[in-house]
Symmetry: C2
Subunit: 118 residues, 2 copies
DNA sequence: TTTAATAGGGACAAAATTATCCCTAATCCC
DNA sequence: GGGATTAGGGATAATTTTGTCCCTATTAAA
């Protein structure tokens, strides 16, 4: 977690949820973990365009915020699994609504951009 | 709008909606405009902690993405008003859901942090 | 006549986020 | 032995986002 120099103001719920899932891959991580992709290495393979480092950092933050739980198996080679907390699950419908809107937006946006060509 | 060096991948709806309302004040601007705060100077007064420049930039982006419409009155002193487009209005329930979750999260998060004190 | 209000651009600085590269340590496979 | 796999830390660089400061031009009010 990085240290922030500007004080964060959580005046409204938006600022809060953005803090939680605003990271580039966070919502996707939540989605994948919910789908059963639990181990760090699996997650990395599932999102090859994300750097391993950033995925790790974002997983740490999700854990810190109580969205996911990290379970460490004391084996070798190391084994770790992530699970959504009950609280993390409460995020699913919201994320789904966002994703749905985004998908619908895509075509509308393309239409808008076509018009601007005229 | 800044030039981006990394190609953006809009693989999922989340990436898209984040592009639209991911900016620090964007969702709040949408909220305020919907509430009837229309003129740039009013918006600046409504969000005094945001710099004028950034509000302007984010308004431009919202306009570019077809969420709001800028209406210029050719008067002096200049007068400009922003309105949600029909499409921008479709965003309202999603933003409301996010805000709601965020507000509920706040107390849960505070409880979680207390536990970590032990 | 100076000051405030109006809407915003340009240049640049600061901060935050994301990406790259190298490192540990154990075990299994060839 | 050499290499792959496992999970992840440290240092640092690149990129993106946000913030600061100064500027234009017009009208009305003090």
């Amino acid at each position: 977690m990085y240290e922030k120099k500007m004080p964060k103001s959580f005046a409204c719920g938006m600022a809060i949820i953005m803090e939680i899932i605003g990271g580039k891959w966070k919502s996707y991580l939540v989605y994948l973990i919910n789908k059963g992709v639990r181990r760090p290495s699996e997650l990395q393979r599932a999102v090859p365009s994300a750097s391993r480092r950033v995925l790790d950092l974002q997983l740490r933050e999700l854990e810190f915020h109580g969205i996911i739980k990290r379970v460490i198996y004391h084996e070798l080679p190391p084994k770790v699994e992530y699970f959504l907390t009950e609280f993390g699950e409460s995020l699913l419908p919201v994320v789904a609504a966002m994703d749905k809107w985004g998908n619908e937006y895509q075509s509308v946006f393309e239409q808008l951009m076509e018009k601007k060509q005229d």
